[in-house]
């Protein structure tokens, strides 16, 4: 018998195998609109794998992943539309400017590009909009990767160590963006070692067993 569908993201008995090794199994998680779910765990406990699994880049070897009660693998295109993923790499091309990166990302996500300038401003990159990515520092590149979240709105943010290389002010900017996203009913799942300013975050610790 099916239980009542839960709004937002829900994973039941998720399992992930990589290279013949079980990374995690029987993992349950749920995140309702407005939730921030922080993934914790030692290196190698599967935080990145779980994020890629939630994004749909990686198929779970067992279990069920659902959005608003519907299995995501039934309509992968709909799931791709609602996912914004920031991985370890910043996905920047050395010769393209930040403004070009934002416009391309908006076009790729099939959203209007009006939020691009505001997205760069939100992460203090407004003055660098015309600068090619190869002249940026590591922290600035990371901020540009995060600015994509604002440039192309999506319901579910999946952030893999988003604060890597960020200074305190940029972590603040990220916390503000996350708070705004949650206030508008968005869901954030983030693997991070830093405390997010946003209170009422829920924590999922991997590899605890």
């Amino acid at each position: 018998m099916e239980s009542t569908p839960t709004a937002g993201l829900e994973g039941r008995a998720l399992a992930c195998r990589r290279g013949g090794r079980t990374v995690f199994r029987a993992l349950d998680l749920a995140a309702a609109p407005g939730d921030l779910l922080v993934l914790r765990g030692a290196n190698g406990t599967g935080k990145s794998s779980l994020l890629r699994l939630l994004a749909g880049l990686l198929a779970p070897s067992d279990g069920r992943l659902a959005w608003d009660g519907e299995a995501v693998d039934e309509d992968p295109a709909a799931h791709r539309r609602r996912v914004a993923y920031v991985g370890h790499n910043d996905a920047l091309k050395p010769t393209l400017t930040l403004a070009e990166h934002m416009r391309f990302h908006a076009a790729l996500r099939a959203v209007p590009g009006d939020a691009c300038a505001a997205a760069l401003d939100a992460f203090g990159l407004g003055a660098l909009a015309g600068v090619p990515a190869r002249f940026l520092s590591q922290g600035q590149r990371r901020r540009a990767a995060l600015a994509r979240l604002v440039a192309a709105p999506a319901a579910l943010w999946l952030l893999d160590e988003p604060t890597n290389g960020l200074d305190a002010a940029s972590v603040e900017a990220l916390a503000r963006a996350v708070a705004r996203h949650r206030a508008s009913g968005g869901i954030v799942v983030a693997a991070t070692h830093l405390e997010f300013a946003g209170a009422s975050a829920r924590t999922l610790t991997l590899g605890a067993a």
């Binding site: 994004a55 295109a77 391309f104």
Partner: protein, 221 residues
């Protein structure tokens, strides 16, 4: 659809900002063909007899070496994840990348091919068909090559693997293209061969995006 066009525009812009990559491929094309001229000797008849084959084999190898970074560069900087997660079908985005790749590497090869053909003493009756065969044949080279490039993403000796996967797929294109040019030089109609080349291009166009997308999804797991 606009996502695909944006991807074409981005890749063309990237190629224009680093013209060295396209120029390297063109230089390879001209220099490798020159080596054949030196190796075979200056007798016009000897060169003319093999000119078609040389132009085509060298153009094919130039296409091959340009494919190395097609998807590997996207995988290395994390852009591949963004492409796989884009709402548009990955097949369409693969097609967009192939179009940009063709515009920035294969089309310049077609443009300089008459120069190389002159150097190799190609018969004047063969020029028009050589251009037609390159225009019809190089899209297949790019599309089949994209399948190989997608399969080779993440492989340690990607370049060598790419050649092993792709070169056998290039054989039919080479055979029909050279046959078309030889037919016009001999005063026969090249049309049957050109139609077969067009058929191969349609085959590649319908099959390659699906095969390459499947390989890319596998690579981004």
């Amino acid at each position: 659809m606009s996502a695909a066009l944006a991807l074409v525009a981005r890749d063309v812009r990237l190629a224009l900002r680093t013209p060295a990559e396209t120029l390297t491929i063109l230089a390879f094309f001209v220099i490798a063909a020159t080596l054949f001229a030196f190796g075979i000797g200056p007798e016009p008849q000897a060169l003319a007899r093999v000119a078609t084959g040389i132009v085509w084999v060298v153009a094919l190898l130039a296409c091959l070496i340009s494919l190395d970074r097609l998807f590997q560069a996207e995988a290395d900087d994390g852009s591949l994840d963004q492409l796989v997660l884009a709402p548009a079908p990955l097949e369409l985005l693969v097609l967009a990348k192939c179009l940009a790749q063709w515009l920035t590497t294969a089309l310049p090869l077609v443009v300089v091919s008459p120069l190389v053909a002159t150097m190799l003493q190609l018969s004047p009756h063969g020029y028009a068909t050589l251009l037609a065969s390159l225009l019809l044949g190089t899209p297949s080279l790019t599309l089949f090559g994209a399948v190989g490039a997608a399969l080779a993403v993440g492989a340690r000796k990607g370049g060598a693997l790419l050649a092993l996967i792709v070169l056998p797929l290039y054989v039919p294109v080479l055979i029909f293209a050279v046959a078309a040019v030889e037919a016009s030089i001999a005063g026969l109609s090249p049309r049957p061969h050109l139609f077969l080349l067009a058929g191969l291009a349609v085959f590649a166009l319908t099959l390659a995006p699906f095969a390459a997308s499947a390989a890319l999804r596998q690579a981004s797991e």
